[in-house]
């Protein structure tokens, strides 16, 4: 099977398990983001894919060959480090051509490739500049070009955009995604920025505590989170307790909501509702009743904080649908079963 396959990959540092039994299949040409809080094992997983760390268990396959124990320099991959790790003693062109020089590629071929890559990253004519004199964004591009010089089978990026300011980061996310689509190269990016993951990835792999919590396309991750960790980590969400009422029906904050059931075989569950899916209405008529505690007008969106049954529920509306509420007012909350997910854990 082509692409990258991880099966039961585990990494232990002493008694600490950094990556625990991770299996993942990355088809050729896809863009995968490993997303999670710091210390979740995403960087360790990437370092094992690169061969910079060896797994304590499991195997890694690339393009049908087992590369679990193949040394890094024989894996034919391209990697962009968080620190970028541009060689300070080499010029931009020499940095880009490093992998070609190591492989003994002829000088004129190297030169042609440098020009090609510099054109690709929109820095033509930069070959003879010193890397110390580049701006943050330019250094970023040079690191990407250097990693792509040999047309690697696998393109790895470890928190590649974290050093850039917010505006440049957004622009680079789009650029990186377009570049990947144009080259059709299998790409894995480690990030803790969910916005970055949603922008770029075909598949978002959410990790926590060394394990994969969910691997799915961005929209599914957002709309159909697998558990409350994923729901909470990706975007904003309301996590509401679901408990059975006297008749055994599922009840949310004291009201039975039509279309919402307890997870099969579970005594209780958690309902994840995105703030933009919470509707505020007049109290009564089967709606969950609550009291407005705070209204935050952010200009582009209005957030209403409602206290209901001891839980805080946040509703977000666009300014066009500005809710007619004020602090202390009683309101009703309506949940749409189509846009809410009941989670077992």
């Amino acid at each position: 099977m082509s692409g990258l396959n991880l099966s039961h990959v585990t990494k232990q540092f002493g008694t600490f398990t950094a990556v625990n039994d991770v299996s993942l299949s990355v088809p050729d040409g896809t863009f995968v983001c490993l997303l999670g809080p710091s210390g979740c094992g995403k960087t360790t997983l990437m370092r094992m894919i690169a061969g910079l760390d060896l797994p304590t268990g499991g195997s890694i396959e690339l393009a049908g060959a087992d590369i679990t124990k193949v040394p890094t320099h024989k894996r034919d991959l391209g990697m962009v480090f968080q620190s970028l790790a541009l060689f300070p003693h080499l010029t931009v062109g020499e940095n880009i051509a490093y992998s070609l020089r190591i492989r003994g590629v002829a000088k004129d071929v190297q030169k042609k490739r440098i020009d090609e890559l510099l054109a690709m990253i929109h820095l033509p004519g930069f070959a003879d500049r010193s890397v110390a004199k580049l701006s943050g964004g330019q250094r970023q591009r040079v690191a990407i070009a250097r990693a792509l010089a040999i047309s690697p089978k696998l393109f790895l990026l470890d928190e590649p955009l974290s050093a850039l300011d917010a505006k440049l980061r957004e622009a680079m996310q789009v650029e990186l995604r377009q570049l990947q689509q144009r080259l059709g190269i299998t790409t894995i990016v480690v990030t803790h920025d969910q916005r970055e993951a949603m922008t770029m990835a075909d598949t978002v792999v959410v990790m926590n505590g060394g394990e994969i919590r969910q691997a799915a396309p961005p929209v599914d991750i957002y709309r159909r989170p697998a558990d409350s960790f994923v729901a909470d980590f990706i975007g904003q969400t309301n996590l509401l307790p679901v408990v059975p009422d006297g008749a055994g029906r599922a009840s949310v904050l004291g009201e039975v909501v039509e279309g919402i059931a307890l997870p099969t075989g579970a005594a209780k569950g958690t309902l994840s509702v995105r703030p933009e899916d919470v509707q505020l209405t007049a109290p009564g008529h089967g709606a969950i009743s609550g009291t407005v505690t705070f209204v935050r007008d952010l200009g582009g969106a209005i957030e209403t904080f409602v206290e209901a049954g001891g839980t805080q529920v946040i509703a977000v509306c666009s300014p066009r649908n500005r809710p007619d509420v004020s602090v202390g007012q009683s309101v009703g909350i309506r949940l749409d079963p189509a846009t809410s997910v009941v989670l077992a854990r």
Partner: protein, 284 residues
């Protein structure tokens, strides 16, 4: 931080003490030495003030030329040996666990507390036939018979490298610790084996530090005069040995001074040349 240039004479106050020390203990003795090098020697160990070039003229002979050449060669060889061994050693040291680093650094620093005399006699014992390491080799079956490894050029080189090695490590260590470890990892992901990554990334990235270390060890080794006498044959004696001989045993102060001045000038010229070459490559 913005720094104002000193406005008044009093602002230079902190510099007076070191400037005074340098004048009293360096400039004055060196100036005296230069002056003495032009003095006229009197038979019987004295000299009279004069301005003659006899001392320098006497130095310009094949014999002294050879000794000077050997001294420079020895200093360069020791500097190169120290750096060639020191860079991989310090690189591995900087990548190892903190505890291991501390043990090694303390051990290396303790070498600095040994005097040149102790180092010289320790090595001459180690290289001797009766009590030396060759006995160990015989016991291990590597050699048939114990033999003396001293006096020899190898013994001189070994002891001098040993003596200069701690300085080498201490100069290289901060630079290697500061070197971003992802640089070598990046080189490896780009297809370089660990050894190739070391040679194409670590060594060139540290070029200036390496040049500074070479110069430091070179100057350090140039002044050595005890170890070549203890461990070498007369042809392994350095100019420093001859200077001592002239100054103390032959009581020819003007000639010793002339040789010393010449040695200083030649080493300054070599250091200047090395720095100039380094800058040329930097500019390129």
């Amino acid at each position: 931080m913005r720094r104002e240039p000193p406005q008044r004479l009093a602002h230079y106050g902190p510099l007076f003490f070191p400037a005074g020390m340098l004048t009293v203990f360096f400039v004055v003795p060196f100036a005296t030495m230069i002056a003495v090098s032009f003095f006229q020697r009197q038979q019987g160990g004295f000299y009279t003030p004069a301005f003659v070039f006899d001392n320098y003229a006497r130095f310009l002979s094949l014999f002294f030329g050879k000794v000077l050449g050997f001294s420079l060669f020895l200093a360069v060889a020791v500097a190169v040996a120290c750096v060639v061994i020191g860079i991989p050693f310090t690189y591995l040291l900087s990548r190892s666990a903190r505890k291991i680093q501390i043990v090694w650094l303390v051990a290396l620093l303790s070498i600095l507390s040994l005097s040149e005399v102790m180092i010289g006699f320790a090595w001459s014992t180690l290289f001797s036939r009766t009590a030396g390491i060759t006995n160990l080799f015989v016991w291990l079956g590597l050699m048939a018979q114990a033999q003396a490894l001293t006096p020899s050029f190898g013994a001189v080189m070994t002891a001098m490298t040993y003596q200069a090695f701690p300085y080498t490590v201490l100069v290289l260590y901060p630079a290697l610790v500061r070197l971003d470890p992802t640089l070598t990892e990046a080189a490896r992901t780009l297809g370089a084996s660990p050894v190739k990554a070391f040679l194409t990334v670590v060594v060139p990235a540290l070029r200036n530090t390496i040049l500074a270390t070479l110069i430091m060890v070179f100057i350090f080794a140039l002044g050595s005069y005890l170890l070549p006498q203890l461990l070498g044959r007369p042809q392994h004696w350095t100019l420093s040995v001859l200077i001592t001989d002239q100054a103390i045993y032959q009581s020819n102060m003007p000639f010793a001074a002339a040789m010393a001045v010449f040695l200083v000038l030649v080493s300054l010229a070599l250091v200047g040349l090395a720095l100039y070459a380094g800058q040329q490559r930097q500019a390129k």
